[in-house]
């Protein structure tokens, strides 16, 4: 690969949750030896079924979750074992947007204060400067700054997600993990939020790890796509290549199952079933097309 140094580098990351008590002697890893580089200004999509470990991987990259094994770098600095204090200055540069905008806002906090919180932690601005900045952020994400003093329950799902995005970009980060940010939104709102993500990425030069299960949105938004299955990346490559020429049987099954809003297309296609019994687990990623890797 001839890219410059990646912003995020994950090498052989593994996560095993300790079992409670001594019931299961050796639980299966949730994330199992995943390696992934994310270049600056790149949007990497992460797809997979629930329980595939994609959200855990997202939290590991942000060090909201410790790594059981493997190594992790952010902006050239190794943070595999960074302490909370060592992480604090870096948190300015890495942010997160969650799936459920109803659970993501602190219900008893004014939304303006919620958006301002990263500023309190990471910058020495005073109160009025912070307020000014929050107003600016509200406008950036398409909300009326006059709404700053309201409480979360007064907002609809789409507006809440905008508030979360405003908070995420408040400290001027370079990297955002978006964990299923449109899944819980009404269909008529999803495009608004996806457009906002895209627009912010272009304007601020952001890098995203975009976790989703809506394949069409991932295809539209992302430069590269990684498909996760049971804690492993089974296929990764440029979005056009993965969607146009899926190599792994699970990716093929996934694509054949995704509903398409076109009656003729939908009626013509045949569903592929992925049967894990019939395929070996795979050992290592192998490059099958330029930048397009398959776990074999």
């Amino acid at each position: 690969m001839t890219r410059t140094e990646p912003l995020v580098r994950i090498e052989n990351a593994t996560k095993v949750y300790e079992s409670r008590g001594w019931r299961n002697a050796r639980p299966a890893p949730v994330v199992n030896g995943v390696s992934l580089d994310i270049a600056r200004r790149e949007i990497v999509g992460l797809v997979g079924e629930s329980g595939s470990g994609k959200s855990t991987l997202g939290r590991m990259v942000l060090r909201l979750e410790t790594l059981t094994g493997g190594r992790l770098w952010f902006d050239g600095q190794e943070i595999t074992n960074a302490s909370r204090n060592e992480m604090r200055p870096l948190r300015k540069a890495m942010q997160v947007v969650f799936q459920d905008p109803y659970a993501a806002l602190s219900p008893r906090m004014r939304v303006g204060d919620f958006v301002a919180e990263p500023l309190c932690v990471h910058s020495g601005r005073n109160r009025s400067e912070r307020e000014e900045r929050v107003a600016e952020l509200f406008s950036t994400v398409g909300l009326d700054p006059a709404l700053m003093r309201r409480f979360p329950h007064e907002f609809s799902g789409g507006q809440r997600q905008r508030i979360c995005i405003a908070r995420a970009i408040a400290s001027d980060p370079s990297f955002i993990v978006a964990d299923e940010p449109i899944t819980a939104l009404d269909v008529s709102i999803q495009a608004q939020i996806v457009n906002l993500f895209k627009e912010l990425q272009q304007r601020m030069g952001l890098t995203y790890l975009f976790i989703a299960h809506d394949l069409s949105m991932v295809r539209y938004l992302c430069d590269r796509v990684a498909v996760m299955l049971r804690g492993r990346i089974v296929e990764i490559g440029p979005a056009a290549s993965v969607f146009g020429n899926p190599l792994h049987p699970y990716t093929q099954a996934l694509l054949s199952a995704a509903p398409v809003p076109d009656p003729d297309v939908e009626r013509r296609r045949t569903r592929l079933i992925y049967d894990p019994e019939r395929y070996p687990a795979g050992e290592a990623l192998e490059e099958r097309a330029p930048g397009h890797f398959l776990l074999v």
Partner: protein, 335 residues
Amino acid sequence: MAEPLFRIRNLKIRIQNGGETGYPVNDISYDLCENETLGIVGESGSGKSMHVLAMLGLLPRGLAVESGEIVFAGRDLLKMNAQELRNVRGKEIGIVFQDPMTSLNPVLTVGRQISEVLVRHKRLDWRSARARARELLELVGIPDAERRMRAFPFQFSGGMRQRVMIATALACEPRLLIADEATTALDVTIQAQVIDLIRSLKERFGMSVLWITHDIGVVAGFAETVQVMYAGQIMERGPVRSVFYNPASAYTWSLLKSLPRPDQVAGEPLYQIPGQPPNPFRLAKGDPFAERNPFATPRCFEERPALRPVGDVQGHEVAAWYDLKTRIRETGGAE
């Protein structure tokens, strides 16, 4: 077309919250034929789920039918007494709900939960009911049915639980199966399997299917008729191809347009529907979608449109004052 299996006329559902009154279902009328598969598409608050709950007499507290009729196989469900309605539920109408995690009783075995429907409606004794329940489990594709009969819901995966729900709903071979967001909580691949399962069971049992979803893509594949709802009203309904390829409602058009197409140019932003979803307590007096509709005419804001036929396609109807194609041409497309 065949005889209608049920007919809804001017159904209005009222919600009372404090001093406010809202209408989550606001005067809808439609028919469903024997053997028809109808896909109802709408987002939260469209009234798509609420009106089927009303049909079964399962409206939550605080909601009530204000007016209208729901005639099922010749009898008005809304005029039935509790016992008559109970004899319809589970026997002539089966329903599968959204969340398979909470819709099954956690302390009863799966076998018991299927058999009890047969004991109730078919007057079977428990032994034969269990035997039939086992067949049903096999029918919905649950391996090792004999052993799984004795298992509890928490021992099943989400997809498997939804299969159990389907087996329960189909136990008495109902004339109508309602799937209320039945695949929303499932993974895409599991969703596809459940859809295929219901499609094949429909062939086998010869029933009508009412498929309620927020995902317009889901109904494209197997619904014969599509009905798009918004703010408690029917915006458009018609044969699936006609609605998808020639939408006549600006709402349908916008929904389809806002989904990224495979051939979409990456740099170009998605079409986005402006504004926020409607509030059932503050409904506009005119077309409920007017304020989010770039093609709205002044009349849309003033007066509520009724369903009218679209072109010469049999059964394609739209509630709109405007002619969408003309308006798109006049305004030069959206934005």
